[in-house]
Amino acid sequence: MFLTSDILQVVIFGIFSIVSIISAIFILNSKNVFYSAVALAFLGISIAVLIADLAPASYSIYSAFHILLYVGATVVFLSVSMVIFKDLYAKQEQVTPSGIAVAVSAVVLFLSVILGLSSSSSPEISPVSLQQLADDLLSGFWFPAVVLVIALLTTLIEAITLARRD
């Protein structure tokens, strides 16, 4: 018995959706916040895989960006920076109605999105190349790209300032 690509897609989706939900719950439940940051890395990787699994020809380029930029930079920065703090242990407040309120709002959001998307048609998949993406970034979206580069440069300066401590 062979696995077709559709079944494989659903199996990969199932595995990584479980990983992402477990990671998200671990982020909230772990007593040590450093381990929460490590779980955030697992969440980021599983989200990247899930996005690539949606349309591998189109979204795999973005998944590489997600792993490099988000997991590689953001989460590593968070984890390393937490060494500064002495009391990393966190306590949680028991707020009973908040869980119910969040669950109800999630159901309402889900229903409204499903109703909004009910009339949508099936898309046609077209592969996205890195050349096409770079051309579009540098021609159509050059101004946001400049703003992003400036923001990342100021972030770099800020990180150096933090590392120097005084």
Binding site: V10, S17, S20, L54, F77, Q92, L152
Partner: protein, 95 residues
């Protein structure tokens, strides 16, 4: 393919709910930041799922690259604020 789009849409809404719950119940500043990161990840997955369902396959890639770049900046700025808070208060707990 549409089925997996709807499945990931449901997953992203579950993750948004988990992150929202974390923001509400956490007293630790870093955990609030991490919960907002869960919501960021979920919203990116949501964006890609909706784009797949409605047929806009290419546009969310560029938007999301800018989004995660800005998320990186936001995390560093928020962490600087947390460090200042810790130096002033001596604790990471919020009232």
């Amino acid at each position: 393919m549409i089925l997996i789009g709807y499945m990931s849409l449901s997953l992203s809404i579950v993750l948004v709910a988990v992150g929202l719950y974390g923001i509400i119940v956490s007293k630790n500043v870093i955990r609030v930041l991490l919960s907002s990161e869960i919501i960021l990840n979920a919203s990116l997955l949501f964006l890609f799922s909706v784009s797949l369902i409605v047929g806009l396959l290419y546009k969310p890639i560029i938007f999301s690259i800018f989004a995660i770049g800005m998320a990186l900046t936001e995390v560093v700025v928020a962490f600087a604020a947390i460090i200042l808070y810790y130096r002033q208060k001596g604790s990471l707990e919020v009232d």
